[in-house]
Symmetry: C2
Subunit: 710 residues, 2 copies
């Protein structure tokens, strides 16, 4: 295990490339380390200078006594491997390679070499291609970004250089407090999962915020344990954006929809913009709400309405009990005020009205979260409102979340800063404040989940036998009856059905299994589009009709395709219900992922689907179903209602097949009050056994798969 | 016609209630007028003071020489009517009533009295219940908001007091330049339409921005002509928010979905947040784009990807021609830069790279809009980038739109302010800048529309006769065959069909009209749910089957409902196609509105519908169809495709019925390659003839309706 303390809590830091020339990046980094107030030993390395910025310089790291904790390398790319070797010789604990010109420009060989040296010598390697790192609790700023960092409790991990530096300046201006700042760059060694794991245990960090363009190892990321609130801003949501990100970072793209599913299943909150990400990060230091009922205190009706809109749009529940509210809040306002929530203490109320209303809001157990709004007026200093909020919050022992939105000029700006400095999320933008409160609610939901360690259940040996047999025939696509049989064995609910090789057998099966009314479909490896050759007959009602239609179908097909080998027919009991779709797809980043969606037009025209990466458990499957935009239809619609337990069962059962397939497409999965039925399933095997599943065959306790006959 | 110049360009302004007591609102207003630098005559009115703030005061307006342009009234509500009468006596041109305590607290009587005096004396009346108004081009600040207003070319009209005052401070801080600021309050007289009409002709105004909680007279608002870019921020989007807004303002609520349709058909851009509204307002002073291809210039890959995402999400087209881009932009950047659009001149490029790239971007005709991104670095001052953008833009003669997003600290903030001062929209938030550019594109689309003045076409007399006959029977719901007949007469495409009173007639009609396969449905005023009594038979294929099924149906129903009067049957040729829905609903604000949506689950579960208020033309109907989220389905899907012209025809034809109905519901309207078919229509008449349509019977050229027999 590499020691990341050497990066963030080093006692000795060396900078290779610490030039006396102020234009050089190495110089800027050294200067930031010195001016940032770092208290440990500072060691400039430069081939000719005797001192740099007043510190004794060494010609080479080899001249420095052994055991430097952190070495920052900022020299031309061609010299970096040699410098890395010196780091190994001198037993450095960690190395941050600032220099670019490695993987991102196609120079994979030297990047691999760096990684190899790091691994062989147990060195934690950050970069290459980064602007550095900072750890304000130790006053360490080993970056060539701005000198000043506003100290706080948020860890900001950025893949991007330019945006990261820009945001350093922005966070300082906005007084967003950072516990750490890390640029990941090419991630030759240290990646997101390493840092999250490290900061989970770091006493100075409360919240983690990641800016991400793409992962290098999706399967490793899946092992991340989220223990502290973690926000991710991942760009490349759009198809063109994803392409740009892939070309910019050189990483595998992976589907953004599947990234989205991964963030959800890990319990990471995904933000869409950086203002949202940072405002969430700030808000996530709040106490968690103990329920839903929220109250809005305002001095203006209009902003109250706008806030109500935002709450409804985001699913934040506004306390709605006019009588109780009237009783509690009437005394806080003039006659023309409103107790209807928004609690409108009115513009004339001044600080006193807010103070009273806030006291009640924090004291009443029924109120679970508090939103404070204020429009600046001439008569009341917004700073007084801010102080009132802070005092009430603290007097109540910070017992429930509170967010603030204020609209006004310079005095309002100062009042907002004051609140944020006191760990009360405040903004001049209503939507930003409400979205931050929603993030707190979402984190509370994530925290409430019982932890589970899902595994892929073993493929039943009978199913494995069928897959083996298909492969042995050189086929990669299962025939309909094979697919339905495999589904059934794995525990996917199917409609009653049978496979018959003759008309006699068909009648016998249909009667004994009570399949009427049934659909009959031809079974032949040679026929792909069954309907085109009249190979599908629906709504067969009895045995006489079955016999007639069977013979007619066989005659028809023999005429149309004389050479087709006809194996028999599938007989499937007709069922009705809401059309769903369940599938497995294989993502270049994350491996097999399960898809759920409403079938028919919803999937095809609206892409109304959700994803989770294998393996996941029933609770996750349940959430996955709940993400569908058209989920109302599942909840009961036109006399039809989904049977959720059997859908969940399906989503769990198909995972057993994940290691062995390229693709599964259950379409439709019909669902009604009584159950769900995989009417038709297309299963395509992964034939490339050597690369069958590079991810899943790793020795990896979390995502280990059982052995199977394949 | 009232003279609004008296409000905004007065030569003499009196303030009734201009107290020497600095706590009084009248004092604050007078102070703002004086300190704002107003150059006209200033007349304080106060019952006892001789001078106020150094100006000679009068005991009463009656003591002041005749012909004050603007009188501001800020005295207790009980005294306001009397003061208004004095204004009339002294021939004031305009009155702004600051005082609250009128309609908003249920005091309708006195508010009506104010309006009556205003109308009788041709006084333009603003308010009551407002914080005032300001017109910076004349240095007039007649409000009790902040003293300072940043002058510019945006007109800000606000219904809200508290939020309006708060935003006054915010716009000053953000240097958002205002040409006027008007609080509307209770809108006893002057309303949104009056102000938009006035500022359409005002030489100091370029862009209008309205903050709206609810209209008082929706039909009047529909007559608004949008001549300058107009942005609206309307709150009350959510059901709870709408309720709060209605209770706060006392106005009729009206459906927010229909408000949305109204804004669209008038060509008003609706923003969701005030930061969006103001950033759009700023951007709308830009030149309009002459096409779609947009270019992104950046110094960072990450922010480039984020911007690409935003562009794709908002439908802004990124120029995509790698070879051409490489040829044009390669020289502007180091080797490791990217010409792929985002054009990444890289962090090392400095100002020179931007200058070169900007020059090309503005010079090349192929490039229609420019997005500039910048992440602050230590080496380049963001102000230099801002200057480069401004210089390039101006040298090119401001020939195409440009927006900027920059991320960084204080220096970046200054650089952003500089751009905004120079009428280049710039923000630290990528999404805000891109949304502003999209607003410019949307305004360009609105400007490109050929103006039309839609009218409701007269109801054909045959249709009127049917409606009359139904009413004469005391019914308000048309029977199925009546409804289909009316539709047909009005020009709504229907499937081939007939109405038969006997089995012989049924067979004859079915054969002569070639209706097979057909659906047969019982016609009886006594039967509401036809299916429940076996009154619907589908898929009848020939005359023999028709005869049998006819007799069987009649026997069945006579048994089930012996007293039902059976008039005959509807015979409708079966058709297939995409299910749509077309309806008319009656909004309390806007009167009859037409709805379009995809039928079935889409309407019921997803509320995927769009609205327009009657009357509207074919181009508008076309846009209305294009707003459906699931519109992909109409464009061609699973072998089905909508016939748009016949859908448009339907949306136009139903408008003829709008004045006479409470509700129409064509469900389904089936559409396929060959046409559209109103299979079933429910028409409910508006029986309350005296209040049949208070809006539509006004003497009103724009929305005049033809006389009909009803």
């Amino acid at each position: 295990m590499k020691n990341l303390n050497c990066i963030f809590k080093p006692k000795r830091v060396a900078v290779i490339g610490a030039s006396p020339d102020s234009k050089k990046i190495g110089h800027q980094i050294l200067k930031n380390i010195i001016e940032g107030g770092y208290q440990g030993e500072i060691i400039p390395i430069h081939p000719s200078a005797d001192t740099v910025l007043g510190y004794k310089a060494y010609r080479s790291l080899s001249d420095v006594p052994e055991g430097v904790d952190l070495v920052v390398i900022a020299i031309p790319a061609v010299l970096v491997v040699k410098a890395m070797q010196e780091c190994a010789q001198r037993k450095a604990g960690a190395v941050a390679v600032i220099t670019s010109g490695f993987g991102e420009v196609g120079n994979m060989a030297e990047e691999k070499k760096l990684k190899q040296i790091a691994d062989e010598n147990n060195i934690a390697l950050l970069g290459p291609n980064i602007f550095g790192l900072a750890y304000p609790p130790n006053k360490l700023n080993a970056s060539f970004g701005p000198k000043d960092i506003y100290p706080g409790r948020i860890v900001f991990i950025t893949q991007s250089g330019a945006l990261g530096i820009g945001l350093m300046g922005w966070t300082f201006m906005k007084k967003i407090g950072l516990a750490a700042l890390v640029c990941l760059g090419n991630k030759a060694d240290i990646d997101e999962e390493d840092l999250i794991t490290y900061f989970n245990k770091d006493e100075n960090a409360d919240v983690l915020l990641l800016y991400m363009e793409g992962l290098k190892d999706g399967r490793k990321f899946l092992k991340t344990r989220i223990e502290k609130p973690t926000v991710v801003l991942k760009v490349g949501r759009s198809s063109r954006g994803a392409k740009a990100a892939a070309s910019h970072t050189g990483s595998l793209s992976g589907s953004d929809k599947i990234y989205d599913g991964v963030f959800k299943q890990l319990g990471i909150l995904r933000a869409d913009t950086f203002i949202e990400a940072f405002s969430w990060a700030r808000a996530l230091a709040l106490p968690l709400p103990k329920g839903e009922d929220t109250i809005i205190i305002t001095n203006g009706g209009g902003i109250g309405v706008a806030t109500t809109d935002e709450c409804e749009a985001r699913g934040i529940k506004i306390l709605d009990d006019p009588e109780w509210l009237e009783k509690k809040f009437r005394s806080t306002m003039p006659d023309y005020g409103s107790t209807k929530n928004p609690i409108d203490v009115t513009g004339g109320a001044g600080v006193a009205g807010y103070e009273q209303a806030l006291k009640i809001a924090f004291a009443e157990e029924r109120i679970k979260a508090v939103i404070v709004l204020y429009c600046e007026t001439a008569v009341t200093d917004p700073m007084d409102i801010s102080r009132a909020v802070k005092d009430a919050f603290e007097k109540a022992g910070r017992n429930k979340p509170v967010v603030v939105a204020m609209v006004g000029g310079d005095r309002t700006r100062d009042a907002l800063v004051y609140l944020n400095e006191n760990y009360i999320p405040a903004s001049s933008l209503v939507d930003v404040s409400i979205s931050a409160l929603k993030a707190v609610y979402r984190w509370a939901e994530i925290k409430s989940r019982t932890s589970s360690k899902p595994v892929i259940e073993p493929l039943p040996s009978q199913a494995a036998k069928i897959l083996d047999a298909v492969r042995a025939q050189g086929r990669d696509i299962l025939m309909e009856h094979e697919a339905r049989e495999v589904m059934e064995i794995c525990g996917v609910p199917t409609p009653p059905w049978g496979f018959a090789k003759s008309v006699q057998e068909a009648v016998q099966i249909a009667e004994s299994k009570k399949l009427y009314p049934l659909a009959m479909k031809i079974a032949s490896v040679d026929i792909v589009h069954k309907s085109d050759v009249g190979g599908v007959v629906l709504n067969i009602r009895d045995s006489q009709e079955l016999s007639e239609k069977y013979e007619a179908m066989m005659a028809r097909i023999k005429k149309a395709m004389p050479d087709a080998r006809l194996l028999g027919v599938n007989l499937i009991k007709m069922s009705s219900g809401i059309e769903c779709i369940v599938g497995i797809t294989r993502d270049p980043q994350f491996g097999p992922a399960v898809m759920f969606g409403l079938g028919g037009v919803f999937v095809e025209a609206l892409k109304d689907v959700s994803f989770r990466v294998v393996p996941f458990d029933g609770a996750e499957a349940d959430r996955m179903i709940g993400e569908i935009k058209a989920k109302k239809i599942l909840e009961g619609f036109r006399g039809m209602k989904a049977d959720k337990p059997s859908i969940i069962k399906t989503l769990l059962a198909v995972q057993k097949l994940a290691p062995y397939v390229k693709e599964i497409d259950i379409n439709p999965l019909l669902t009604n009050q009584e159950g769900s039925y995989a009417v038709d399933a297309r299963i395509v095997l992964n034939m490339d056994s050597s690369a069958a599943d590079p991810h899943l065959v790793k020795d990896d306790e979390d995502i280990e798969i059982p052995s199977a006959s394949l």
